[in-house]
């Protein structure tokens, strides 16, 4: 792990990526690199294109122009070594599926046919459940778990295939503050232990500030990326939004505040950190 700092390995490379969905350009000329072992926050409002960007990295959505490459991987564009936690998980409470079954699906849910799970697979499921602190509800129905517990199970499900990169789409939405901190700490610790790269999308960057190495900020279909101190500045975000926004540091909490011009209240909408507080 110590050699990451001296010799960073480029895991993922996006170059001039534009993506259109039903005729509308959602992302325009997006370029950034992701280095192995980093914890990266993907910040933007709802509808800014975070999910589209993640789906493009997974290979589910194809860019209309530009390239998405995995320079260190032999399997180009293959999504087999990426763990994914989709957004808005809403499990049917009537569904006959235990937490441990969902974790196991991360291992073999994409296969055809049926076979009895091997002893080693069962042990692997147990160990993942233990790592996410889910042993005590392993045999409960997933639909009856709390939001935070479901996120833990989904994280175990995403990590069981031993991916190099894990993508989490709005895993903090609908969680109380304490669960948010717990999930962020859990992901950060697991990633450090196994040298996994994390790309986590959220509309509020504040819960990520203690652990985030780099930030990718999406607004207006464009992207600014770098260290938090470089990207989250009044100048950089103002140029991204196309109008003046002020970055305020309030007791360790970063707020992005629009300047009140004519119709200024419209700017309040759509700026991270200002919608649910």
């Amino acid at each position: 792990m110590s050699n990451i700092e001296q010799n960073p390995v480029k895991l993922l490379e996006l170059e001039g990526v534009s993506i259109s969905r039903s005729g509308r350009e959602v992302l325009h000329d997006v370029t950034f690199d992701i280095y192995k072992g980093k914890f990266i926050g993907l910040i933007g409002t709802n509808g800014s294109g975070k999910t589209t960007l993640l789906r493009a990295i997974l290979g589910i959505v194809s860019p209309s122009s530009g390239h998405i490459r995995f320079p260190s991987s032999s399997k180009q564009g293959s999504s087999n070594n990426i763990g994914y936690v989709p957004q808005k998980i809403d499990f049917d409470p009537d569904m006959p599926l235990r937490a441990r079954d969902l974790v196991a699906l991360g291992l073999d849910g994409n296969r055809l046919g049926i076979s009895k799970r091997k002893k080693s697979d069962k042990l692997l499921v147990d160990s993942l459940l233990e790592q996410v602190g889910g042993t005590e509800f392993a045999n409960s129905r997933v639909g009856e778990l709390s939001g935070g517990e479901q996120q833990r199970i989904m994280i175990a499900h995403a990590l069981i295939s031993k991916p190099e990169l894990i993508l989490l789409d709005e895993p903090l939405a609908n969680l109380d503050l304490r669960s948010q901190v717990e999930i962020v700490t859990l992901v950060s610790n697991l990633a450090k232990d196994s040298n996994i790269t994390v790309l986590i999308s959220t509309h509020d960057m504040n819960p990520l500030l203690p652990v985030m190495d780099r930030i990718i900020y999406i607004a207006n279909g464009k992207v600014a990326s770098g260290e938090v101190s470089e990207v989250v500045t009044t100048e950089s975000l103002s140029s991204l939004y196309g109008h003046h926004v002020e970055v305020v540091n309030l007791k360790g909490r970063i707020l992005v505040v629009p300047e009140f011009e004519e119709g200024g209240f419209n700017f309040l909408r759509g700026i991270p950190g200002n919608e649910d507080h």
Binding site: L58, I60, S78, S79, N80, I82, Y84, V85, P86, I89, F91, P93, D94, M95, P96, L97, R98, D101, L102, L105, G106, D108, G109, N110, R111, L112, G113, I114, N139, S140, R141, V142, G143, E144, M154, H157, A158, S161
Partner: protein
């Protein structure tokens, strides 16, 4: 009760129950209940077309239900799948009524497809039914993990390389085939009950998917066996007992969960579901031909006359069921 005449009924209904139990589990799990309602209706229209064209009803059944599955799968990629399914139901039913108006002479056969003729099955129909059933179950086993994975977290399955559109289409085709095979036996109305009730009840009794499938098959078998026996003894229609058993099994599953679950959402659903189950049973009591009358073919016109006005009501009840099952 086990005479040669009845043996066919026991055998064919057992086959239909087993395949309905297996396929029905995934119909419920994948929230395809509305499609499971639409495809038998499509099949009914196909039978009407076949009777007009003077070809085998099975050809009409399979062509229309498979086409229905393709259209639902195709449209679902562009619009909401419930809307796509509703469009298919409407299209199929209107085509069915058109063909029926052309072919008044053959209408009796077509109406029997609405409610099935479990006691009128001939020996030669058993082998094809068995083969189609085996094929359906083999495909479900082959796709088992992908069907389950895509029903739980479709986006994650897709990220692991599962082709959602392919799995959806394959499953709809399986529902269509099951329908084709089951409609002549239990009819369009009751195949819907057999696909939904045992599977939905089974989900209440266990936390494991594979156990739920085995349980769903057992409950479907219990339903049809009890219905045939009760119908034989009481001379009330088998369809009534299928509907009533389905409601009863589902209700007991709900009560079991009510006692064993802390979750309030599932408690609220309990009452609504029991009510529609009873409505279905009451309706089939009115519409289904009593066993004695079916046996007496001279009476068929009278029976058909009684059924006709009720089919509209049936559609309404199914709509209510669909809405309540989605809430």
């Amino acid at each position: 009760m086990f005479s040669a005449f009845m043996l066919n009924a026991w055998e064919i209904s057992s086959i239909v129950a087993v395949v309905s139990g297996v396929v029905g589990f995934f119909v419920v799990q994948r929230a395809n209940a509305f499609a499971a309602h639409a495809l038998p209706n499509g099949a009914f229209a196909g039978a009407a077309a076949a009777s007009y064209l003077g070809i085998s009803a099975v050809i009409g059944l399979s062509v229309f239900s498979l086409a229905g599955a393709l259209v639902i799968a195709g449209l679902s990629r562009r619009t909401r799948s419930d809307v796509a399914t509703a469009l298919v139901v409407v299209m199929m039913l209107s085509l069915g009524s058109l063909f029926l108006s052309f072919s008044s002479g053959y209408a009796q056969q077509v109406y029997s497809l609405l409610f099935g003729e479990v006691f009128g099955i001939s020996r030669s129909e058993i082998l094809p039914t068995l083969l189609i059933s085996l094929f359906c179950m083999l495909v479900v086993l082959f796709l088992y993990r992908q069907l389950l994975y895509t029903s739980v977290v479709p986006e994650a399955a897709q990220a692991k390389g599962v082709k959602l559109a392919v799995v959806d289409l394959m499953f709809l085709l399986i529902v269509a085939l099951t329908t084709t095979m089951a409609v002549p036996v239990v009819g369009t109305v009751l195949i819907f009950t057999l696909l939904i009730s045992p599977a939905a009840a089974a989900r209440s009794f266990t936390n494991k998917a594979h156990i739920a499938i085995l349980l769903s098959v057992s409950l479907a078998l219990t339903t049809v066996w009890a219905s045939i026996a009760l119908s034989y003894e009481t001379n009330y229609p088998a369809g009534f007992f299928v509907g009533a058993c389905g409601a009863l099994i589902y209700a007991s599953g709900r009560i079991y969960r009510f006692i064993h679950s802390k979750n309030s959402k599932s408690r609220e659903a309990t009452l609504a579901h029991i009510l529609w189950g009873l409505a279905e049973a009451a309706l089939t009591l009115n519409t289904d031909a009593p066993l004695g009358e079916v046996k007496d073919m001279a009476n068929i016109d009278k029976v058909v006359e009684n059924k006709l006005p009720m089919t509209e009501l049936n559609q309404v009840v199914h709509l209510v069921q669909f809405i309540s099952s989605n809430n």
